[in-house]
């Protein structure tokens, strides 16, 4: 299970090929790419992603391990960038491989939801009006809470 925290960009295509390489039991790969976007109120010229070295890697590893415990995964990987990023750049890549699509889709969504509320990253945006720290969104907390409880069937999620 690959966890990477890096300043450099990544190639989603080669990450996806690496995730599925060498395992013919893999029948499905779901992946997610998060991007730096402009806000409705102001264009974001760039942002800086700060993190907590050490805890970042541990928390991502713990999240991936939880996903593996919940779903039958044949592979999972998370890449998260830190440092200075411009609008349109890739921030995060999550990939999950499994025999069938349902596990891959569900695990990928779970990992993204969990890392948004539990992994120690902080975004600071630089807009024409000056720099501002991004506030945490209640919607992200709600999305992460959907996964609490014993019902692992994604079809039964609210």
């Amino acid at each position: 299970m690959a966890i990477r925290v890096q300043t450099e960009d990544f190639d989603a295509g080669s990450e996806l090929r690496r995730l599925r390489a060498g395992d013919r039991n893999i029948g499905a790969v779901a992946s997610f790419v998060g991007l730096v976007r402009d806000l409705a109120s102001a264009p974001v010229a760039e942002m800086v992603l700060e993190h907590y070295p050490g805890m970042t890697e541990k928390s991502l590893q713990a999240i991936v391990s939880e996903a593996q415990a919940r779903w039958r995964l044949l592979g999972a990987a998370v890449i998260h960038r830190v440092g200075r990023l411009r609008a349109g750049e890739q921030i995060v890549w999550v990939g999950c491989a499994s025999e069938h699509r349902r596990e891959a889709f569900a695990a990928c969504e779970f990992i993204v939801d969990a890392l948004k509320t539990r992994a120690p990253f902080w975004k600071k945006e630089y807009t024409p009006d000056g720099p501002r720290w991004v506030d945490a969104r209640a919607a992200d907390e709600q999305a992460a809470r959907r996964w609490e409880g014993d019902d692992d069937d994604p079809a039964h999620r609210p």
Partner: protein, 84 residues
Amino acid sequence: MLKLLYFARLRENLGVAAEQIALPAGVVDVATLAWHLRARGDAWARELAPERPIRAAVNQAMARGETRIRDGDEIAFFPPVTGG
């Protein structure tokens, strides 16, 4: 000794990223440590005020107010996370 770390808005507004302090008398958990740091006044009282949405980690694991603290621990204070 305790290793204290501050991130993001807290790091900027407190003007410190990391410090080492002797385990203060009466500090047994995250809540009592925050109370001890608030007594420094000014930015400390403002940034660590109980109504602020501050998160903490003890030894690189998310913690709560009642999470115990022991000599040698690494404790971090930071705003709610905004990655992804």
